[in-house]
């Protein structure tokens, strides 16, 4: 089968529609993952044993099972108990929850990496818990985390094609529907691959820059 440029230009607008949804899902999923991750990280540090153990096990469970099955679960099982979600919302929740368990580890490492002396100094300066977190710990913990967080957001971006399985009309789904309409697979699927490769290579450059800018821990 030959590569047909006319066909490529013909299907481009449809694919661009999909690209928009793919990027939207990645952005929303990233925001959700950043928030959920922080929640999990804080819950696991909680002095309440029951809370930290439960959250720890749930996070471990979510990390040990496939995102695709979790998406099916959110999209097909939750309606049984009365929670009906539109596909995109279900997809974003799935992505956010799955990657939230990964970003939680990044937060944990970032917080643990703040030297003990800083905690002690905060105590010596008579700062209370809230002041210690907002003025001492968080400002020092966040910058070294940024490259690792960005890494997971790029990984999430590459998982978005899974959303096509729960009928979100993102890039992969648009490509499949185009392929099924015209019985031509080579152009749409190759274009999807090329698109992902292009964005990933750009994000590698961005990641290198982030690492240079924030990666070093000043001691």
């Amino acid at each position: 089968m030959e590569w047909d440029w006319n066909f490529v230009w013909e299907i481009m607008p449809t694919l661009i529609q999909g690209v928009k949804i793919t990027i939207l899902a990645t952005l929303l999923g990233s925001v959700l993952a950043a928030i959920i991750g922080l929640g999990i990280a804080l819950a696991r540090r909680s002095p309440n044993r029951a809370l930290s153990r439960t959250v720890g096990f749930l996070a471990e469970f979510i990390r040990g099972t496939p995102l695709l099955v979790q998406l099916y679960f959110i999209f097909y099982v939750l309606p049984d108990i009365g929670i009906l979600l539109p596909p995109l919302v279900a997809g974003v929740i799935g992505l956010g929850l799955h990657y939230g368990t990964y970003t939680a580890e990044v937060y944990r490492a970032g917080i643990d990496n703040v030297p003990r002396g800083q905690w002690e100094a905060a105590k010596a300066c008579n700062l209370n818990a809230r002041q210690t977190w907002t003025h001492i710990i968080i400002p020092q913990a966040i910058p070294p985390m940024i490259p690792a967080l960005a890494n997971y957001f790029i990984a999430m971006f590459k998982e978005t094609p899974l959303l096509s399985a729960i009928t979100v009309l993102e890039l992969m789904n648009q490509a499949k529907s185009v392929a099924n309409t015209y019985y031509r697979y080579i152009e749409p699927i190759t274009l999807v691959g090329a698109f992902f490769l292009a964005i990933s290579l750009c994000s590698v450059v961005l990641l290198r820059w982030l690492e240079r800018r924030y990666g070093k821990i000043e001691r």
Binding site: P66, Y72, V77, V192, F196, S200, V204
Partner: protein, 219 residues
Amino acid sequence: MTQWSGYLGLILQGALVTIELTLMGSVLALIMAFLAGMGRLSRFFALRALATAYIEFFRGTSIFVQLFFAYFVLPLAGVELTPLQAGVLALGLNVGAYAAEVVRGAVQSIGREQHEACIALNLGRWQGMRHVILPQAFLVMLPTFGNNAIELLKATAVVSLISLADLTFQAQVVRAQTGNTMVPFTTILIIYFILALLISWGVRSLERRMARGLDGVRV
């Protein structure tokens, strides 16, 4: 209740396919990881470039897109693959690219003095690698290989979308036949989690075995 046991049998058949895929994919991934990881450390520019291109390409595009490419586009180029072959190929090549970076990082993490000792003992490049560097580097690689194997297990869920009868696919079959979504999806989530636990347990005990006799070499 009798019918549920039949459906459970169906799901267990799917579990066998998932395990088979994970094992075969892991073997291919391990081979690719060593080939590409060593390739990146090669003296020859061509080998380095080839290995880098492979790693960047497979890490840069989504596993989902690679699988669809292997299953739908390769036949157009005259390479007919069964769903199982396409699945093993895509999973192995994808995870192999991630693991190749682990191999490279681990080999580079072995101290200079070990390389110098090899030269002092008049070992050839290959001999030094085989008898001195790799046995130590392998121990460094193992924990991350375990994580990669779990990633591979999770990625196998995607093959259900190219009509391979794995766990996720069988859960969909059961869902279609019974109209019940909660039971099959919860069951397979638990099975995936148990498989992930088995992998991490296996890798940890392998690590203990391999570390025997290396006390004092590594801190």
